[in-house]
Amino acid sequence: MKCQKCEKAATFHITELTGPKPLEHHLCEEHAREYLNNSAEQHDTASSLTTTLSQGMAKQMSANKVAAELKELDQQTCPVCGISFYDFRSRGRLGCPNDYDCFSKQMDALIINIHGVQEHIGKTPKHIEHQSNHRTLLIKLRRDLNEAVRLEEYERASQLRDQIKEIETE
């Protein structure tokens, strides 16, 4: 297949999912880079995150892998809050703290691109959370509780409430 913008072979296949319909682009490496660079200026913050992310990943792997990888990563979902990576990159905001670990590969690339570094060296709370797994579980339990109430499963809701209270008072 030829690049849509020149005579070279298309090695980069992008499916743009931000609009109402998926848009396919078939481009050579040079035009693919141009496309990725330009889209940052054209789109709003949410989709420029995608660009930042793709650019970050493009630095780490050959360009023609990026689109395929992105598509696969988009399907990933956080087990705690239920947000998919696609949701995040289309809204520009994460669903819960666990997303930083659950999408760690993407977040590393993104954070390097935004901040140039990955390690916090500033202020540290005096009381660092020792029960962090429990606190993460709380998010999941609260979400389940909401769902149980919605489905009118009151017995389950009551059990969940007890569990939440138990962790909260620890």
């Binding site: 705690v80 809050c81 239920g82 947000i83 809204r91 520009g92 905001r93 994460l94 669903g95 819960c96 703290p97 930083y100 977040m107 993104l110 954070i111 935004i114 901040h115 140039g116 570094v117 990955q118 390690e119 916090h120 060296i121 500033g122 202020k123 540290t124 709370p125 005096k126 009381h127 660092i128 959370e129 962090s132 606190r135 993460t136 709380l138 998010i139 609260r142 979400r143 909401n146 962790i167 909260e168």
Partner: protein, 350 residues
């Protein structure tokens, strides 16, 4: 309504004192914090939002004296009151428009505020008149320490304070300085300043923060990177740059005085004339002329009014403030008439 009491006072950040106050209007620092055990706002249910608000409410009641702050549930306010708080820079545009449970804690002296359920669970803001980020940092760092003793913050070993958007992760800190740069605008040097700021990773915005257009020659500069630097380093970076911009603006003012004296005097005098005589005037036109007035006073071209009076006019001619003073809602045409009347009255007082 308790927030109406603020109408008669000038916000701390508009007092017109503090270092470099002829050019630096105010300095501001924001810390983004989130509570563990809750999702970020995009995934928070109304129940979560209320629990977060109650957790913060009970923490602040333990920390601060009851008569030293207002804790306002924003969902109980109408749109006029929310816009009024926004014009005073006590809540963000996002909180003006949020539908679910959200709140703001406002220090009685308007030296700091804490937004609850904004983009992050907590946004602690400190502000002061003139250029003094260090003073704000020591103030809000203390507030942050006290809150942290009572609330569980989300903190990541590698990324630091976690935030809903990865652009704020790490320190969660944004240092911003609002500058009045009319001479650089007139002499068309402002673009050069912006380009050099972008090179050192500093963002430039209009007066009311993200996405807003510069009005009245006011510009806000702030750090973009929040991770991998200490809070002190972030403050130092802004502290290194701001004096340079201030010096550049002063140079431009001196040049105008020397080489374009009549032209600049004409601009300031016309602005005064217009503000004193207009029968109907929009908020943008007002900002534009007040900017010239402010420039004229600081350059010694106009003798009155005082800078705090001009600052007060900036705030009180904003749409929501005007309506609050008037005591009822006004259409745009009515506002423009009321604004002109207010300006004539205030500028003729002396």
């Amino acid at each position: 309504m308790k927030i109406d009491r603020m109408l008669s006072q000038l916000s701390e950040w508009l007092l017109g004192n503090g270092p470099e106050n002829d050019i630096v209007i105010s300095s501001r620092i924001r810390l983004a914090r989130n509570l563990s055990g809750f999702p970020f706002m995009t995934r928070a249910t109304e129940r979560d939002r209320k629990s977060i608000r109650e957790a913060v409410r009970s923490a602040v009641l333990e920390i601060f004296k009851p008569d030293s702050f207002y804790f306002v549930d924003l969902d109980s306010l109408d749109s006029l009151d929310r816009n009024y708080l926004w014009e005073r820079q006590l809540i963000s545009r996002e909180l003006v428009e949020t539908e679910g449970a959200c709140a703001v804690l406002i220090d009685r002296n308007e030296k700091f505020c804490i937004m609850v359920n904004e983009e992050d669970h907590l946004r602690i803001h400190g502000m002061t008149s003139g250029f003094d980020p260090e003073k704000i940092w020591s103030r809000i760092n203390e507030v942050d320490d006290k809150l942290e003793e009572r609330l569980h913050y989300v903190f990541h070993n590698k990324y630091g304070y976690l935030t809903a958007c990865p652009t704020n992760v790490g320190t969660g800190m944004r240092v911003s300085v609002m500058l009045h740069l009319p001479a650089l605008v007139v002499s068309k040097e402002i673009d050069k300043v912006f380009r050099s700021l972008q090179k050192v990773n500093l963002a430039v915005r209009g007066i009311y923060g993200e996405g807003s257009q510069p009005v009245g020659d006011f510009y806000q500069i702030s750090n973009q990177v929040t991770l991998g630097r200490t809070e002190k380093e972030l403050i130092e970076k802004i502290s290194d740059i701001v004096p340079q911009i201030v010096a550049y603006e002063r140079q431009a003012r001196e040049f105008l005085l020397r080489e374009r004296h009549e032209i600049i005097l004409d601009r300031c005098s016309r602005a005064m004339g217009l503000l004193k005589t207009a029968r109907t005037i929009s908020s943008i036109e007002t900002m534009h002329h007040l900017s010239s007035l402010r420039l004229g006073i600081n350059m010694g071209l106009l003798n009155e009014p005082d800078i705090p009076v001009v600052n007060n006019l900036f705030l009180n001619t904003q749409p929501a403030h005007l309506q609050k003073h008037n005591g009822n809602e006004l259409s745009q045409t009515e506002r423009d008439i009321a604004r002109a009347k207010y300006l004539r009255h205030k500028l003729d007082e002396k």
